[in-house]
């Protein structure tokens, strides 16, 4: 069972954070096909967020084909992504290893690498959404 958390200062809307956390969990293999997502009541009771936020996130995931709602029972995961995603992206991983090696040779420490990555990531992410 996945446990959600909310980062209020991330600038990302709450429902999107929930969606991403589910996708992330799927990729990492924490969630597999057949697993049940927490009920709206459970999520709301833990995070103190609006119920419609949770509903919207679950609808979005359903729209993406990742989960399916069974009325009266709950919302269940319909796909398993872990193995395929990690395996399919081995080349990307390689690229990333090489980039990290380059960054270290350029003299960047861990924090600088993280900062560089995050700012670039956020800028491009912002451009995608807008």
């Amino acid at each position: 069972m996945i446990e959600f958390h909310l980062d209020e200062r991330s600038g990302v809307s709450p429902y999107l954070q929930l969606v991403r956390q589910v996708r992330q969990a799927l990729r990492l293999g924490v969630l597999r096909a057949g697993d049940q997502l927490p009920t709206v009541k459970e999520v709301v009771g833990r995070l103190a967020i609006n119920p419609n936020t949770v509903l919207k996130a679950y609808r979005e995931l359903e729209h993406e084909g990742l989960v399916a709602a069974r009325p009266g029972v709950g919302t269940f995961v319909t796909v398993t992504l872990a193995d395929s995603s990690l395996a399919a992206h081995a080349p990307l991983r390689q690229d990333l290893r090489r980039w990290l090696a380059k960054a270290r040779r350029a003299g960047l420490d861990d924090e600088s690498i993280e900062a560089l990555f995050l700012t670039t990531f956020r800028t491009t992410a912002g451009e995608d959404i807008a």
């Binding site: 909310l6 609006n50 119920p51 419609n52 936020t53």
Partner: protein, 296 residues
């Protein structure tokens, strides 16, 4: 969807002072509504009018299709948790539950008992000996176990520490899901409401400044940053909510349904807090609009 609260030209006067002026609202059911505004803006007055504690001076208000406070049936459908969550200091928690059972036809004794147990409260404990957070939970239990259709809460978390605040909101929202409650929650801090509310009413200076679904408000309000410009020169569809200038730069908060094409502007998203502050900051207001409501 039927409106859970409808007001037309609603006003309330105390002596010479208008606490609420010309309020028009159509609050839909099934939402957690945030009522935000500075102290003295009229939030408590609006909630008192909605619960039937006071009659309006002018205009009308309809709650769940009925006149507030008019009958036992109407009172049973609306729960109210007052500011400072009052309780009878010399009565025990169990006594309070008995009070609820005796005075409410729709009382759910099992629900109340379970909730008290889950909170870890001792039913024999006198209410005067409880902490602020525990008293708030007791008041919330009384409001929920009455099985209303609408629950009104007047600044319920203002005096609570952060943990008690979080626990209170958790309990409230959980109950809202479980019992399909509509909730109206007032606060003078937007941060209390940001996570919980999906409909917002901003009340400043006894008037409703803006009211609408949070999603739609955030989608239609933008921050424009760019070279210094007079607010009058902005297109008519862009309603200026607040403006601030340096000698070279202007920052506007505008409301518009149409896309912003002018390349001179950097358009950025607003947080809910920014939006509310813009409406609360009357000195930076370029144009004054008495009622702003986002039509669905």
């Amino acid at each position: 969807m039927t409106a859970v609260l409808q007001a037309r030209g609603l006003g309330k006067k105390y002596g010479k002072h208008w606490a609420l002026t010309d309020c028009t609202l159509d609050v839909p059911a099934g939402h957690v509504v945030g009522l935000v505004g500075p102290n003295g803006a009229g939030k408590t007055t609006l909630l008192n009018l909605a619960s039937g504690a006071l009659p309006p001076t002018s205009g009308t208000i309809t709650v769940l299709g009925g006149r507030p406070g008019a009958s036992t049936a109407q009172l049973a459908r609306v729960g109210f948790v007052a500011q400072d969550t009052p309780s009878y200091a010399s009565l025990s928690i169990a006594d309070h539950l008995t009070l609820g059972a005796r005075l409410n036809p729709g009382w759910d004794a099992e629900l109340a008992r379970q909730r008290i147990e889950r909170l870890g409260l001792d039913p024999a404990q006198r209410a005067g000996k409880l902490s602020g957070g525990q008293r708030a939970q007791l008041a919330l239990t009384l409001g929920i176990a009455k099985r209303p259709d609408l629950l009104l809460l007047d600044e319920p978390v203002a005096a609570l520490d952060p943990l008690a605040r979080r626990e209170f909101l958790q309990g409230l929202l959980e109950a809202a899901v479980e019992h399909e409650l509509s909730v109206v929650l007032s606060s003078h801090l937007v941060s209390d409401l940001e996570r919980a509310c999906d409909y917002l009413i901003v009340l400043v200076d006894s008037r409703v400044q803006v009211a609408g679904e949070v999603e739609e408000l955030l989608a239609t309000h933008h921050r424009l940053t760019g070279p210094r410009r007079d607010p009058e020169r902005l297109p008519a569809e862009q309603q200026v909510i607040s403006a601030s200038h340096t000698d070279r730069q202007s920052t506007f908060i505008v409301r518009t349904d149409t896309p912003i094409h002018d390349p001179a502007w950097t358009v950025s998203q607003l947080s809910l807090e920014d939006l509310v502050l813009a409406y609360m900051n009357t000195t930076a207001r370029a144009h004054y609009r008495p009622v702003l409501e986002v039509q669905r």
